[in-house]
């Protein structure tokens, strides 16, 4: 069971993960990661832009890679776009598998790729001013782990 989406409105992760888990009967375990807009001093909002023709197909391609690499029963990958407030979920990835490490590693793999290799551009608003967020070195390092 595969559920890959871009959402332009705030969402409650449980409303997606509960039906996802039920749609994978016989699983041994599932792992879910939810990333939220961190509440940092003076960050008022975060905006994620994307490019329709490649962003969602890119996520589908990432899901293909995860299914090829791990023994998965199901994969849910949901990413917000648009403007978000601190505390709102940005991303939710859930993997269902017969064995725990496939589920956990698939989530780790998808998150590293969503952070550094997916077609999203982020900017944040502080003191009324928007500024673009540059790639983080740590994220590239995390991604490189999977190329070994």
């Amino acid at each position: 069971m595969r559920d890959i989406r871009l959402l332009d409105q705030a969402f409650a992760p449980e409303s997606l993960t509960k039906p996802f888990v039920r749609a994978n009967p016989g699983l041994g375990g599932y792992c879910t990661f939810v990333g939220e807009v961190r509440s940092e001093e003076d960050v008022e909002a975060l905006e994620l832009s994307h490019y329709e023709p490649i962003t969602l197909p890119g996520m589908q391609g990432l899901a293909d890679q995860a299914f090829a690499r791990f023994d998965l029963m199901g994969l849910l990958m949901v990413h917000r776009i648009g403007e978000m407030l601190p505390g709102e979920p940005i991303v939710c990835v859930s993997a269902a598998a017969r064995h725990r490490r496939d589920a956990i590693q698939a989530v780790d793999f998808c998150m590293d790729h969503l952070k550094s290799a997916a077609w999203f551009w982020k900017r944040e608003k502080r003191g009324g001013e928007w500024s673009w967020i540059e790639p983080r070195e740590a994220d590239h390092h995390d991604l490189a782990r999977w190329r070994k």
């Binding site: 490019y51 490649i54 550094s116 077609w119 999203f120 551009w121 982020k122 673009w132």
Partner: protein, 80 residues
């Protein structure tokens, strides 16, 4: 019909607009001439990708956009 050049993320701020339209066909050298000096400089960085008709080009200098194609200039994605 023409070719639409779309600016994404921080490149949109640099361009000061969302998109421009140029006449087809559009290859790499014409693209560099069409976007102005500053964006042309950015485009020559390895970190900036080009998509044409919904596909990211593995070699952007091989760009060959035809009537009706959309060419998107993709800056580095944000790790955040």
């Amino acid at each position: 019909m023409a070719v639409r050049i779309l600016f994404l993320g921080p490149l949109r701020d640099l361009a000061g607009k969302e998109a421009i339209e140029v006449s087809a066909p559009l290859d790499w050298s014409v693209l560099l001439q069409s976007v102005g000096e500053e964006l042309a400089g950015q485009l020559q960085s390895d970190r900036v990708n080009v998509a044409c008709a919904g596909r990211v080009l593995s070699d952007k200098t091989s760009l060959n956009a035809r009537d009706g194609d959309e060419v998107a200039l993709l800056p580095p994605v944000s790790g955040g």
